[in-house]
Symmetry: C2
Subunit: 338 residues, 2 copies
């Protein structure tokens, strides 16, 4: 008999996620009711913001309650449908939970195009890529020739945001941890330069990489590297505040920018955004980005671990910087495709 497995939030992590904070439990396979679908999840998309949902702070949605199944984006295949809008075999996002099977009344259909592999729709053409696209085009709005800095430039969002900057005609400088990532950022993603923050001279290295200062920052990290960016911004700089992964698992107060005063001094703009506000415009962005991929202008990487038992470790990988590209957890095999 097929069972479902789900991760339950048992207690709120303090700092890094540790054993005992979450528990993997067996549950009966859910049965879809009237108008519902049963989805076998294939990919769990972990993201830094998942860690925020585990904390009891005021945020953009309710924190996950202890005792409840952990929230998170999944992509799966419909295996049973009592809803005329969906049929078995449809690829959908449904459930929003760390579980192998989900039942849902509604789902977002993924308009899979068969020349692109399924992980593309869970990364560059999924929430991560959409975050990069709208953050860059709607919030940061760089102009050709401007200097754009992207932190976490080897990550699922940063690698895409950085390449969009390059496609828009900007000089793009990445920030990433370690030589391997920096090489990838330059050679695979085509950035002009990359600062290895682990080398310990982020401010000096960033200054050297940005001889004309910084016009746009696509910020994923916060912390010291963001202060280095704020130190070097030009008049009228724009900072698209996508995330601050460096502080999400802080056990004390959240980080705040020491160089905040430059927002006045440089008449700069910092703006936070959330990809879900752009959901109605995803089709537009998916069409543009899919074409960039086909044209070879836009590359993407996925970093896939197997099995739902790996979900907390996969999330921790984002915080230790182990992942390269979008971190996914494969929960079950892909269906025959195409």
């Amino acid at each position: 008999m097929t069972m479902n497995r789900r991760w339950i939030l048992r207690q709120r992590p303090i700092g890094d996620i540790r054993d005992g904070d979450l528990q993997l439990v067996d549950a009966p396979l859910p049965e879809p009711g009237d108008g519902e679908i049963l989805v076998r999840n294939i990919y769990l998309m972990v993201a830094p913001t998942n860690r925020v949902w585990m904390s009891q702070i005021d945020q953009y949605m309710e924190p996950v309650a202890t005792g409840e199944v952990m929230r998170g984006g999944t992509m799966g295949v419909v295996v049973e449908s009592n809803n005329p809008d969906f049929k078995p075999g449809d690829i959908v996002e449904a459930g929003m939970a760390w579980e192998e099977y989900s039942v849902a009344k509604n789902a977002r259909r993924i308009p899979v195009e068969h020349d692109l592999p399924l992980p593309a729709f869970a990364s560059v053409l999924g929430n991560s890529g959409m975050t990069a696209y709208f953050g860059m085009l709607d919030i940061a709005r760089p102009k050709p020739g401007e200097t754009v800095v992207v932190s976490a430039a080897a990550g699922g969002v940063g690698s895409i945001a950085a390449q969009i900057g390059r496609i828009l005609g900007c000089r793009v400088v990445g920030i990433a941890g370690g030589e391997t990532k920096c090489r990838l950022v330059k050679e695979e993603f085509g950035l002009d330069a990359c600062v290895d923050y682990k080398a310990g001279n982020a401010l000096a290295d960033l200054r050297a990489a940005c001889p004309d200062g910084i016009d746009v920052d696509f910020e994923n990290v916060g912390g010291d590297t963001m202060d280095a960016v704020l130190t070097l911004i030009n008049l009228g700089a724009r900072i698209a505040l996508c995330g601050m992964i460096s502080t999400y698992n802080a056990s004390g107060d959240w980080w705040s920018p020491k160089m905040f005063r430059n927002i006045i001094m440089k008449r700069a703009r910092i703006e936070g955004f959330l990809v879900s506000d752009y959901r109605s415009r995803f089709p537009e962005a998916v069409a543009v980005m899919a074409q960039w991929i086909r044209d070879g202008q836009l590359k993407y990487k996925t970093d896939i671990v197997d099995g739902i038992e790996q979900a907390p470790a996969a999330l921790n990988r984002l915080f230790s910087g182990k992942n390269i590209g979008k971190q996914l957890v494969r929960l079950s095999p892909e269906p025959a495709f195409g």
Copy 2:
């Protein structure tokens, strides 16, 4: 023989301005050369940003060098002209220095309208009022019915920004220090509520005054009251970052917002601005604001001390919160006017 008197920056203040940081010196009356004008200054307009100019930090213009005359806005009357564009009696801004007489090649002519007194052109229709106007209309952009918070709401910029919010149809809540200022803010400037931050319960009082949260913040102060605002902002809030007077004379690091994370959580926008970027649009704003004054919709207060020897003390008044309305130093009598 008429002499000139000028304030020289002798050493960079640490914390508050103290005796010995500046020195008042006598100088010969300057003589205008070819194409130059000689201006007898009437009002010195002190502003919090003057204190920033005394500090050796990266800012929006060069700090004042030690040994040089202190920089600051003045309004005066042309007494001698070798420039065909100006004639004796013209009211101008020229010189930008803490001095009784200035010589300048160029000047900004003040389009004095004789139904309004000269101090109006040094406050609500001068840089302070322009800062309020463009900060509110171009940066903050509140919509009717929204809740707008203005800090330093009894001050030269804040009192005008707050009333513009009211004129635009917003619910406007001021933050000011002490009962007297709060009464003024409500009764004279017509705000809906005022939080007395000196009462010690700024966050709770602000929450009570903003039952629907905060949509727009016109920020002049920074510090704990700005953190209270950031705690209460709504989704999509806009923060026009005009100034952070609470930190300009800090002897250590500048303040940074503890609740910075809400910029992401609430998808908020913080934007710094500087009034000098809007100089070409001053005539538009002066015309609108002058009409609001004539219609009785817009009130303004000036707080005038007499004599150039009072200039450092006048600037210190801003930091101790002694001033009500725009702080001016009268350097010499107004000419017969009209």
